[in-house]
Symmetry: C2
Subunit: 317 residues, 2 copies
């Protein structure tokens, strides 16, 4: 990073921090870092997060916040957008772990680990009989909604194994590792020939409940479903219905309509579901990658340059 | 396949087949196909397999058998070699499913699914705390023993995620998807810097108990272990000891010293072990691939050409 001569005062965030009105007025930029965010589950904020957003609300001259998340769908973020506070996400810094979780879940379903894991728990030596054998992954088709960092890393892994990868996104751009990239409007025609439906898109007005009962019914019963996007992108009740009725082969879910997943959710009981607790980002390197992105953006901010990952679209409910 | 004018009589193998002495004398070649083999567990043969090998023993002019397996370490195969019956394996036809199982098991351990799967069973929403976060896979080192079809497909998947791949084999050949290929003698020096030790080699005198207590002790405690080769390549007692003492991060095992794995094996109880019942080959496409290979080899056999996958090395106990 080139150095800049502009003086920057750092107010380190600690659990004991109290800011005077003068200090609050002096804040131009804030870093919602991973250590502050840790422990936050959807709208239920960690104590440090609560304190952080209280300062944000009370800082009248705040102009920019660097977020820890890849998505920008939190109510606090919306409030910032309404105040014209610029937001930059950490999209990309967590993409590899999330993509690897998606690939792991997909492979577990594709290969037969739903069966083997259960047999191991019961201490049963139970090879799959021939009729239950896995279909060859090579030659299958995956429809990946979202062709950002996460979707692309998923596609890279699947293509390395001969899977046909079709990416769907709002704006068509040519994208490495995808055999084809199409607009979201192509979805319905693709579902019937798709072996894997993978959600790796942001939650936006267009993607909210994108996968509803009608679309789930278009999938073949051997298809698998993967969601590392947001729980709200799918109609969770319809998904549970399809899985319980074995109208899908299985699902790997990291995200849910309500988090933590309520104790009475039928998802806990389904044998064809692999779940992780909105934890697919989990990886030691994220913290360093997030700090590096913040420092790059801070440099750009001070120089009046374009910020990386700036949220451009208005945020809706 | 080009046609050949030589007359070939086919004796279709059925569960009711009985062969006359004249028929047995007429047999030149045999295909130990997947449907005959199905249900065989190591030295415990399926009824169809028992019948098949009885015919083999009684066919005095038999010259070649196409095997269903990638390995050639079965006692019946040894008997054939002693009689100078040529053997060809099906190496390659099952490689992709086996490699994908190895990759799935490795990713499950790498990403944290040992933890998440347990939490899901207990219906607990339990994100990994930061100290337990997975280490980034990118930049880690995998030592893969065996650089055949399976080892190479494993390397391809790992390299697609930035893992450094070192292959070990008897004879050094330059191999795609490996950063380095070294002789087996390099093993001891590599173990200390290795994050993943993956066994994908044939069982031979050189590889039997290759991974013993001393070598396991050289691995760092964050290392994971994957075995899709043969149970006999590792000292299973020493492996259990290392896993139980958490001197390894975890293991994915498809193969065992005794199969089916005995009910009293401590492996059933270890929380850091993922097991499949020597079933990693499981895939619908294997049968067709095996038949295609047999037909290619039959053509070569009839023309006196080189056979694909012929077992060259003498088979030892």
């Amino acid at each position: 990073m080139e150095s800049t001569s502009r003086h920057v005062e750092i107010l380190p965030f600690t659990s004991a921090i109290e800011l005077t009105p003068a200090q609050l007025e002096s804040i131009d930029a804030a870093f919602y870092s991973r250590d502050i965010w840790n422990g936050t589950v959807k709208e239920v904020l960690s104590p440090a997060s609560q304190r952080f957003w209280r300062f944000v609300d009370a800082a009248p001259n705040l102009k920019w916040i660097q977020l820890v998340s890849a998505g920008a769908d939190h109510r606090h973020y919306r409030r910032c957008a309404e105040r014209a506070v610029r937001l930059t996400t950490s999209a990309g810094t967590n993409a590899e772990p999330v993509a690897l979780n998606a690939v792991t879940g997909l492979l577990m379903i594709a290969r037969g680990f739903l069966h083997w894991t259960r047999a191991q728990q019961k201490r049963e030596w139970a090879p799959l009989g021939d009729p239950e054998s896995a279909r060859d992954l090579r030659g299958q088709t995956a429809v990946i909604i979202g062709t950002g960092h996460i979707g692309t890393a998923i596609a890279r892994n699947l293509k390395a194994n001969g899977v046909r990868t079709i990416g769907l996104r709002r704006r068509i751009v040519s994208t490495e590792h995808f055999d084809e990239v199409l607009p979201l409007s192509a979805l319905d025609n693709l579902l019937q020939k798709c072996d894997w439906l993978v959600l790796a898109c942001p939650l936006t007005p267009e993607t909210r409940r994108l996968i509803d009962a009608r679309r789930l019914a278009l999938l073949p019963s051997h298809a698998g479903f993967v969601n590392v996007a947001r729980g709200e992108v799918v109609d969770e009740g319809a998904l549970i219905h399809a899985l319980a009725g074995e109208r899908l082969r299985g699902a790997y879910l990291d995200v849910f309509a309500v988090e933590p997943l309520p104790a009475d959710s039928p998802l806990w009981h389904l044998q064809n579901v692999i779940m992780t607790p909105h934890d697919a980002t989990s990886s030691v390197g994220n913290y360093a990658r997030g700090v590096e992105l913040f420092l790059r953006n801070l440099e750009s901010y001070l120089r009046g340059h374009k910020l990386e990952n700036e949220v451009q679209t208005p945020l809706h409910d």
